[in-house]
Assembly symmetry: D2
Homo-oligomer: 407 residues x 4
Amino acid sequence: MTMGTGNSFGRTFRISTWGESHGGGVGVTLDGCPPRIEITREDIQKDLDRRRPGQSRITTPRDEADSVEIMSGLNPENVTLGTPIAMLVRNKDQRSQDYLENDMNVAYRPSHADATYDAKYGVRAIAGGGRSSARETIGRVAAGAVARKILTMYNGIEVLAYVSKVQEIGTENVDHDTFTMEEVDSNIVRCPDPDAAEKMLARIDEIRKAGNSIGGVVTCVARNVPAGLGSPVFDKLEADLAKACMSIPAAKGFESGDGFAGTLLSGKDHNDEFYIDPETGATRTKTNRSGGIQGGISNGENIVIHVAFKSTSTIGQKQATVTREGNEVELRGKGRHDPCVLPRAIPMVEAMVALTLVDALMMQKAQCELFPNDSQMQPNPMGSTEKGRGVSGMTTGGNTRQRIDEE
Amino acid sequence: MTMGTGNSFGRTFRISTWGESHGGGVGVTLDGCPPRIEITREDIQKDLDRRRPGQSRITTPRDEADSVEIMSGLNPENVTLGTPIAMLVRNKDQRSQDYLENDMNVAYRPSHADATYDAKYGVRAIAGGGRSSARETIGRVAAGAVARKILTMYNGIEVLAYVSKVQEIGTENVDHDTFTMEEVDSNIVRCPDPDAAEKMLARIDEIRKAGNSIGGVVTCVARNVPAGLGSPVFDKLEADLAKACMSIPAAKGFESGDGFAGTLLSGKDHNDEFYIDPETGATRTKTNRSGGIQGGISNGENIVIHVAFKSTSTIGQKQATVTREGNEVELRGKGRHDPCVLPRAIPMVEAMVALTLVDALMMQKAQCELFPNDSQMQPNPMGSTEKGRGVSGMTTGGNTRQRIDEE
Amino acid sequence: MTMGTGNSFGRTFRISTWGESHGGGVGVTLDGCPPRIEITREDIQKDLDRRRPGQSRITTPRDEADSVEIMSGLNPENVTLGTPIAMLVRNKDQRSQDYLENDMNVAYRPSHADATYDAKYGVRAIAGGGRSSARETIGRVAAGAVARKILTMYNGIEVLAYVSKVQEIGTENVDHDTFTMEEVDSNIVRCPDPDAAEKMLARIDEIRKAGNSIGGVVTCVARNVPAGLGSPVFDKLEADLAKACMSIPAAKGFESGDGFAGTLLSGKDHNDEFYIDPETGATRTKTNRSGGIQGGISNGENIVIHVAFKSTSTIGQKQATVTREGNEVELRGKGRHDPCVLPRAIPMVEAMVALTLVDALMMQKAQCELFPNDSQMQPNPMGSTEKGRGVSGMTTGGNTRQRIDEE
Amino acid sequence: MTMGTGNSFGRTFRISTWGESHGGGVGVTLDGCPPRIEITREDIQKDLDRRRPGQSRITTPRDEADSVEIMSGLNPENVTLGTPIAMLVRNKDQRSQDYLENDMNVAYRPSHADATYDAKYGVRAIAGGGRSSARETIGRVAAGAVARKILTMYNGIEVLAYVSKVQEIGTENVDHDTFTMEEVDSNIVRCPDPDAAEKMLARIDEIRKAGNSIGGVVTCVARNVPAGLGSPVFDKLEADLAKACMSIPAAKGFESGDGFAGTLLSGKDHNDEFYIDPETGATRTKTNRSGGIQGGISNGENIVIHVAFKSTSTIGQKQATVTREGNEVELRGKGRHDPCVLPRAIPMVEAMVALTLVDALMMQKAQCELFPNDSQMQPNPMGSTEKGRGVSGMTTGGNTRQRIDEE
């Protein structure tokens, strides 16, 4: 639970987002960014373009360029000053009349946030869902792009997500060590398994044409994460990742490693046995059912998580509901909405995971790397995940620091 | 992400736990407890007794009375002063020699936290797993008992968990509106469905005798939670609950409402339609696939979550692993461990949910109830869950406050 | 110590500022604002106008309208939504060439922040001092205006500051119960004692003409603050106020009540004896040497604090310094700077005090007013300060709440 | 403002204290301590012994050994595990009857915290002042001893305080570069200027015999603090130090560097000019009116602060007050109290300064030292304070890290 009342995330690498769907715009302030990092507007815009509406027929037709303006925190050479980086996207294509013309302004949309926002705040920002709109995630994705840059610089850490399930249609043969963002973005579903992607797309189209909506699962992999990240007992890495991902609109489930499926296995079958990588000398696990996290701390293997997204609540079909005044009515949604939230959720999940990892990295630096780690004390703790790249060094606390000094 | 480095939870109702499995003891300090609440040692001990080891043949045989000492925060009449409540349990039956006699002190236990703790901190507290031991949860459960008391006083809020799955064996016919703690505790599995409990117990015994361990799912229900709790966009109620529950040892998955299963439904089928309760006039939902949370805010229906627990990693069978010095060896666990963590996880999950709810309640009070809510502005937002008890009032922000004033 | 890395302030009523002196602009996001508060752009602009440069001959000649744009958090009727309020002021009159033309870009200004910013971040935002510029306080003042509105609504709480000393020239006869903002703003020094103001102005003019700068003391009074605010032991009200005020540029000292002068008195002479106000029945103190805060908690009397501001470091006279490369040189400041920071510090101090009080109010609501305070338990704790207004009620925890309900 | 409701301090190096004057005891939990630090019970006890009551005739006669028990966070070799360090001191010599026998249980002590605690919490812990007692500072001092150890290890940082004024009697000729703890502790006033100490003692004795109490000023110096600590704009080092010190019981004023006296100087006279230290090549300041902090960031010179302590409120003379029921009465304090709080405040101030510095160090590590600082970018930023020790290296961000790696 971050400080303030819900609009900030992170401890040392910390974002605060603001903005409603139909107000002046949306934005984010990133506090705690390391100084001396080169960041260009294009670094940010690239991820925003993957998130923006109107990308394809299966996302909302709202047309927004989502062009970002960086207001502070960089010097004229695009180098971070260590001061807050404020970023701003103005709203353009709002069409509030879609909301005002019909009874969406009085009736609560079933399973939508407007009823609960009203219960909480006693005042409504009806048009576009106000702050509950997915538009709010622009700030997360913009800051996530900065996090991504830092992770790459630090240890070549990559954070990649993909659509792994649409309803019951799942992927097969996605190799978590090797799949690329290009493969993910090669189809509009954002699924790197082409056969599955085709079936998913057919299902989404079917649902879309019926004025209905559809959900599924996003899987996210983080590679080259050093061992040692995560702060037990409450800020375990998987607890922080769970919070990060469950805060994305429409998220209703989270798994770390094998998650719910893993509960079907006995301890003997679920445990990841250790071995010494003959090439690198690193301590590795033979399997990765833990998803790269044990005891709430990264172990150097791929971090693998899954996030369940429910179908979007706003649909074109009639539903029973009640008005604010307490009258039972029928409602059919207008406005422009995503039939399937999953493709646009990819950069959101990547952003939240990247933000969480940079924050964990900085906290590890603060607590456990104030002093050098004596090499005799820690000869061979946990291994590296970089199999094919000839990295033989350790990726743990103290050693990571020493490796960086060599860079 | 709480402040500090991982050992505190909550914003205004905030716990900090300390202690290792084989040190002087374990404890918790609760900061932010409302003043003028009557708390007895027995209130605390009752929940600790449900958590303690040695309860039955399916839990660890370590014998600890886990007798709590309240060190501060109460006046002689057992009334809270509003100052920190420190609670302490000393360790008794430690038997560190179980750990020192064999090679557990040098080899890493597969899927256990000892390797990652070593990677993070560069120093090991081998005996008993140190801080990663389930013994750490004593502090959570003790503070959770205070939270439970406050929830009851505030609105008759009840938080009840039960074992809903052991491997693939699931419950049927558990009515979330009516099941009781007595029913849950009527068998050693802590499952209120007697038929399922019997099958679960048979499976656990089988695994236990084989020196293996077993996992499953815990379901938790919170009744009578007022609408309006949770702070979008990052501290959504389900995000905070996810973090709370994913921080419990061995948790690997979290669902809010229908979770992963809900992704199989279209929007039309998943949405919870609204209606007006004819008895109370409250706005209610016909179904509860959202699990009482929409847009990250409680809607007054039962809150329902599910937590996946993997099998415990320490087993009596041989496994391949490596030593700290980097040698590949075989390891067979000694020490005393739970073949099935689920029955003892029940009070842990309840505690984490209760702590999260009190904190959300206090934050709602702080932000949204500084001023009275004008009744004309908010005539009938979201309904009460108290079907049979003749409660016709609203349970939203401002109205809750007014209702409380009448108590 | 707030979360993040220094650019946020407050727990539940929490601001995050961003922006440099010579970048795109400066701004603030306010998280945790109560919903249903009416806020107009004029409410904000009024305080910004008191802070802006170019007001008079004794402040910096930089010409900025400091026109605020409210980007989010309000509905079209200017009512707060309970979501973050983002506010933005673009920079206009930057003249970075003043800085680049001479050697300010290489030499460190004595006692200025540019050397230490360089030491900390390893990168410089030379022009205008970057983030260390007083321009950063725009965000504080904008959010402070919202805080002021809430304080007025809550209990008619007023926060008023004035210049009480310029070097050794001090005020006499300022009645803390009655002086008004109009009196403060009636002269360009912002001192409500006209005789002292005249002498102060003469001194400032003398220093200004010599190309030098001058410091002094600002006193701030908060009236009608209810008893009970402040959270011992670390977030005592005076500790939070100290932090708030010491974070303002050029602040070097803080006093609560009689402060340093109070140390000259014995306990017998310093203690504020209690009496019962015959008119209201309230418990009051005969004197107010404590400055309205005892044991770190407000007691219902006027809160009185003093803040010492050093002379601004940038002056027009020659000074010895060194360059970044380590060469000893002489430097004479160009750019446009305040000869006397005090008049513009008035709205800054008021803002920081108001922000601190709203946050304390919300924390008190969260912890101590979740449940009603039994009147038998607390018949007559601490008194009201509203002497002439016929308020006979209590202003403590539970009673405050009841009084508010009557409003 | 720290999270929780006032009983925690720090961001990454974070303490939470608990305990009342007349309860089971007092204690502290330290979260975020770096692992692999050797800490003995004696390290802690030494500072507690300087704080404990009953040391001399000018402190309270309450007799407490204040023997500390370390409950967690160390391995059997006294090496920190990186997990929370819980420390506990049981109360012994309580004599609550001193409080119950007379009317202290009904009448509010003038200027004492008991009236405001009652206003805030609606319940009283009368005996010994409950949580407002100086006994609460045991936890601060115990954790401060750990901080002191870390500071010494990191850079030979020393934190030393002394009594610089008793009423108007001040020190002369205390050299901030060279005075020692032995000199401070050489007399019971804790003043390293023997002539001043003698006069102070005479004054304290005079006041003590009259049943009265007396206040003064404590000065604290921190040597060898690297440049770069402190996080503008809200967590400036002097703002955090102000909060830290103003949270100590009886503190009513705070100054950084020349503080209030500095406001009498013009900018020209107050500015600290830079020069290059011919021996070390470091950038230094000729004077230190800034007290080692500029722009809220340490500059490598001695950090110098002053804290004003009012006379203790409980005295043996009669005073007018009111009872809880609203009756005007006369009160004469019993119990055992310090006639002069200053000597025992020395370890408290040192502890709060040390805790603040370690936290700032860890935050600097987290944000600004994730990546190495390119030496070409930062050839000679700010200098070292170690004049006579032949240290020629830099003490800024990146360079500090490199220097440490060489140790």
